[in-house]
């Protein structure tokens, strides 16, 4: 079921970062990654001064750092975000070899790939999900597609698609009646579908979970789909360390999501609470790397 209330992230986060992405894309393509990194400082400073989203950064950092937030924290947060965008631009232009990536827990894939049931990969806005491009270069026999909302990020996607025209084929857009049917067919061919599971599309498809000691909404759709197509679920976090180094962590979440009809919502809440708990642990360890710049906890209501 669809409800009319627009989720706040659709109104704030991506519109705010669009011109940041435009600038970074230009810098990267004309000046390269090393010079580009240098330019991030003035760009981020300018962005912080003129962006209306910095208060959301503070809302989050107060929780992840568990202390009072100062300007340099906010700067670090946005610098980390800009750096992620920069690496994304770089990855999308096909330069996957430029990264030094350490995989952790990827031994689970050997078994999962053999089962040939496909995999649902639950990511988040922590770190850089696009690093999976490097992963897919290693496991070349399985294909990866990202599940994305196109309407609200159209402009951002246009920037990225200009960069990498084949991007369209690597994405399953939600919002068409047949979208999830396409996902089912793709996954059941033994492939891997990645979904970012820390943004709610519609309240009707959400559950309330504890996240940093406060209840807020998480999407329930990804796990409903996983249960329908009976695909195993793996969590994934790709985190930047320094320079070109990344760590990607994988966790087996469930071999099979089972949602009894009479207690579907309760069971979904249980599953997503576990997801939120694991995400929170990673956020505490990597406090500047979570990029949901909107009113996540409804602090401003």
């Amino acid at each position: 079921m669809v409800d009319d209330r627009e989720q706040t992230w659709k109104k704030t986060s991506d519109r705010g970062s669009l011109w940041l992405i435009e600038i970074i894309t230009w810098v990267i393509l004309h000046l390269g990654r090393h010079v580009g990194r240098f330019f991030l400082y003035p760009i981020v400073c300018y962005f912080i001064l003129f962006s209306s989203t910095t208060r959301f950064s503070r809302h989050y950092l107060t929780r992840s750092l568990a202390r009072k937030v100062n300007f340099s924290d906010v700067f670090r947060h946005y610098y980390s975000f800009a750096n992620m965008l920069l690496d994304r631009v770089y990855l999308l232009s096909g330069k996957t070899q430029a990264f030094d990536v350490h995989l952790h827990g990827d031994d689970i894939f050997d078994e999962l790939i053999q089962q040939n049931k496909g995999i649902i990969l639950l990511g988040s806005h922590l770190g850089n999900f696009d690093l999976l491009r490097v992963f897919s270069a290693k496991y070349s026999d399985i294909k990866i597609k990202a599940v994305m909302n196109d309407n609200n990020r159209q402009k951002v996607n246009q920037v990225f698609e200009r960069l990498n025209p084949s991007l369209k084929d690597e994405v399953i857009h939600i919002g068409h009646p047949e979208s999830m049917l396409a996902l089912k067919e793709f996954v059941q061919q033994g492939n891997l579908a990645g979904i970012l599971a820390d943004r709610v599309e519609t309240e009707a498809r959400s559950v309330s979970c504890e996240f940093f000691n406060q209840t807020t909404l998480f999407p329930s759709g990804p796990l409903i789909v996983a249960s329908l197509i009976q695909a195993p679920v793996v969590l994934c976090f790709a985190l930047h360390r320094k320079n070109n180094q990344y760590d990607i962590y994988f966790h087996k979440f469930s071999d099979k999501i089972i949602l009894p009809r009479e207690s579907r919502q309760e069971k979904l809440t249980e599953y997503m609470s576990e997801y939120a708990h694991i995400l929170e642990q990673y956020c505490k360890q990597n406090p500047y790397s979570w990029y949901n710049f909107y009113d996540f906890w409804n602090d401003e209501k």
């Binding site: 079921m1 919002g175 329908l228």
Partner: protein, 88 residues
């Protein structure tokens, strides 16, 4: 407007599969299933497509060029199922 037998059957399948709080006669066969109208989303469509393939033994495919039409309303969905049953 009265429903055909197959429309009643498919309407009941929709209500049962998606756990909707309504009667089959509440559905206008020409009303949109997605967006406005019944307000279904693509996850509902997946559940529905799986229920249809169980009950009627044919697969709905995501790459069918006629999907927009097939999934438009109860009437168009029932018509499509009818056409598939005749082929089968």
């Amino acid at each position: 407007m009265s429903l055909s037998d197959l429309e009643v059957q498919v309407g009941e399948l929709i209500i049962e599969t998606l756990n909707l709080d309504m009667e089959v006669n509440d559905i206008d066969p020409d009303d949109y299933l997605f967006g406005e109208g019944l307000g279904l989303d693509s996850i509902d469509a997946l559940e529905l497509a799986m229920a249809i393939s169980n009950q009627y033994n044919f697969q709905l495919r995501s790459d069918d060029a006629n999907n927009r039409k097939i999934f438009r309303s109860l009437k168009t969905l029932a018509d499509y199922i009818d056409s598939q049953l005749k082929i089968g």
